[in-house]
């Protein structure tokens, strides 16, 4: 038996002190757990407003959600990083950006008073807030994605509209998705995924977590890298419970 190669990855968590209201820490915990289980050293670097950081040197980017006020705080800093982030993502850098982070990876976020927060155009989309009287999109979600069934929870006021040609992350089976109209959820460009499914997304969707890890490993160590499977009973059980809950609540809501 040959000893497995010692792989090491660096994940960058963007603005963890500002964009972190929806349990986004769970995504980092899941990445770390599933890397460690395979002997992959995962270093998590926290990068916030003003910190020096070169996207070309990292293996996975993560960003979470925040309220409008928090989005404004990071907008200028994110703009300055836009070209480098876009170039790295075009070059295959895996990314997972959620809620507020997802919105600002599009072209812009337009708040309910018409105020515009510019995004960095990784995704060809824009988000508009329909006003304080519009209902928020809150509830369980089940998606069909190329990676299989994905479960999660969404909670957003803004409605996101994909430009023609922009691929979604998945199709909504249960829940609202990007705008409660067109059945799309999130966005995917190269290896970057944007989504409204927050917090406990990666723990309950281990195939997605593994895909991000594998994409990152292959980008750094070559196309032959494989990922040994894990037992995953706890993950599968939590996934099944979330899916069952979504179905039950969607039936109850009629």
């Amino acid at each position: 038996m040959s000893t497995p190669p010692a792989y090491a990855l660096t994940a960058v968590h963007l603005y963890p002190d500002i964009l972190n209201i929806y349990g986004d820490r769970g995504n980092i915990i899941a990445l770390r757990y599933r890397c460690e289980a395979r002997g992959i050293a995962l270093q998590v670097r926290e990068v916030t407003v003003g910190d020096a950081f070169d996207p070309a040197e990292c293996d996975i980017i993560l960003a979470g959600g925040g309220q409008d006020r928090e989005q404004r705080r990071i907008a200028d800093d994110l703009q300055a990083r836009g070209p480098a982030l876009r170039a790295a993502i075009d070059g295959g850098l895996p990314a997972l950006v959620v809620c507020g982070g997802f919105q600002l990876f599009g072209h812009r976020y337009v708040d309910h008073q018409g105020g515009v927060i510019p995004g960095i155009s990784v995704f060809d989309l824009e988000t508009r807030h329909p006003g304080p009287r519009a209902d928020r999109c809150i509830g369980d979600v089940i998606l069909d994605t190329p990676e299989g069934e994905v479960v999660g929870f969404e909670n957003h006021g803004g409605r996101t509209y994909l430009a023609p040609g922009q691929a979604p992350f998945g199709r909504v089976r249960r829940g609202f998705g990007n705008n409660a109209e067109d059945g799309t959820e999130g966005a995917r460009t190269a290896n970057a995924i944007g989504t409204y499914l927050h917090g406990s997304l990666l723990p309950k969707n281990p195939a997605l977590t593994d895909e991000l890890i594998l994409l990152a490993l292959r980008r750094r160590y070559g196309p032959d890298v494989t990922l040994p499977p894990l037992a995953d009973d706890a993950e599968r059980a939590a996934h099944a419970t979330a899916a069952r809950t979504a179905e039950r609540r969607s039936r109850a809501a009629g």
């Binding site: 929806y22 820490r25 769970g26 917090g199 723990p203 706890a234 059980a237 809950t245």
Partner: protein, 461 residues
Amino acid sequence: MNPRLALAVSAGKLAGVAARRAGRGGGTALPGLVAERVDPGLVGHLASQLQRGRVTVSGTNGKTTTSRVIASILEAAGMPYVHNREGSNLMRGLASTLLGAAGPSGAIPRAVHSFGLFEVDEATLPLAVPELRPTVLAFTNLFRDQLDRYGEVDTVFALWSEALAKAPRDATLVLNADDPSVAELASGWAGPVHWYGLEDPSFSTAAAGAADARWCRSCGGSYRYERRYFAHVGLWRCRGCERRRPEPQTAARDVTLALGDAAFAVEGAGSLQMRLTGAYNVYNALAAVAVARVLAVPSSAIIAGVGAARPAFGRQEVVEVQGRRLHLLLCKNPAGANQVLLLLASVGGEGLKVATLLNDRFADGQDVSWTWDVDYEVLAGKVERCWAAGDRAEDMALRLTYAGWPRCDSVVHEPGALIEAILAGSEAGEDIFVIPTYTAMLDLRAELVRIGAAQPFFEAE
């Protein structure tokens, strides 16, 4: 006496009798609901009789315990009071409590010598304040609730500001100096403020929990901490302006925590011992001490009252089942859960046996992602055996696995099955720590009552 009030009181009392006859338990909300229909000014009319003073207690965490400690202090001082101990903390609960205290004509006996003590829900405060006309408004803290319930921090702060704008100008605010969001309530308040806070350098736990207050409400600057007790609570100072943690008039020093009790000293009041524990309960007791001092309660009664206070239903209650001591440690939100875990990490020792129950009903928060903001990791290596239960037991089990806890002994939905699993995995004489969300606690407690291990709620009170 106002005839409409008398009519409202009789209608409400009648509704209470009817509800009890129909077997609908204490029917705590119904009398208030009916009486308020007849006289919408009912709460104001009844509360205005309580001439010794009227106290409201609000906050996202700890208001029930704080109110109970205040009640215990007033009890020890022999001062009569009316308290919504069993009624809800919404308008109808306040109405029911006052109705229960009033005679058939609407007069409250001994009212001129009595205090009113009212735990008030965050969102109810702006409605309750104009009616209750409080002389003292106490605030414990401002943490976020589970997100999908819309207890967003900014919303709650706006509701409280609205309430203060309607409060009597000469009322005293009793505020937690260590919580910058609560402290901000003093800006724009022209009346007296009594601050309470912790002065114990040994208490710093910087790693504990996500801060729910990060930006100064005056200037938008971020907060810097000379000492952080937990989450955003500590000796804070704004980086952008002059705002900083005020000097508390009621300060706790020399805090010591044990599993079932705690002690601390308050200058001018003396050494206090209590049968509650955890940093959060030190704050709750301290808030109560501050209120008592504002009400000019003598120190001897404060010491006796704090010592006599008992945990509220499901909060640090100990229930014995076949010789096992089940410690029920309710957690309603991430901050509450972190506090419970920190307590176990600091005083629980090694080889812990822990059951966690996660429900996702409305009162728990339908979104369970908050569990990922809770530092279950602080008990990694200290837990010997664990169980997961509740509607979302599987989510809980996964969270614990990823936190480095051992694999759960069992993952079950029903509280009965959990109790069986605990009995199978423990021996008589052992302590089992049970951490449920709100409705999971109700379900578990109902099961404990069913098997004869616990008293029903109203008897336990």
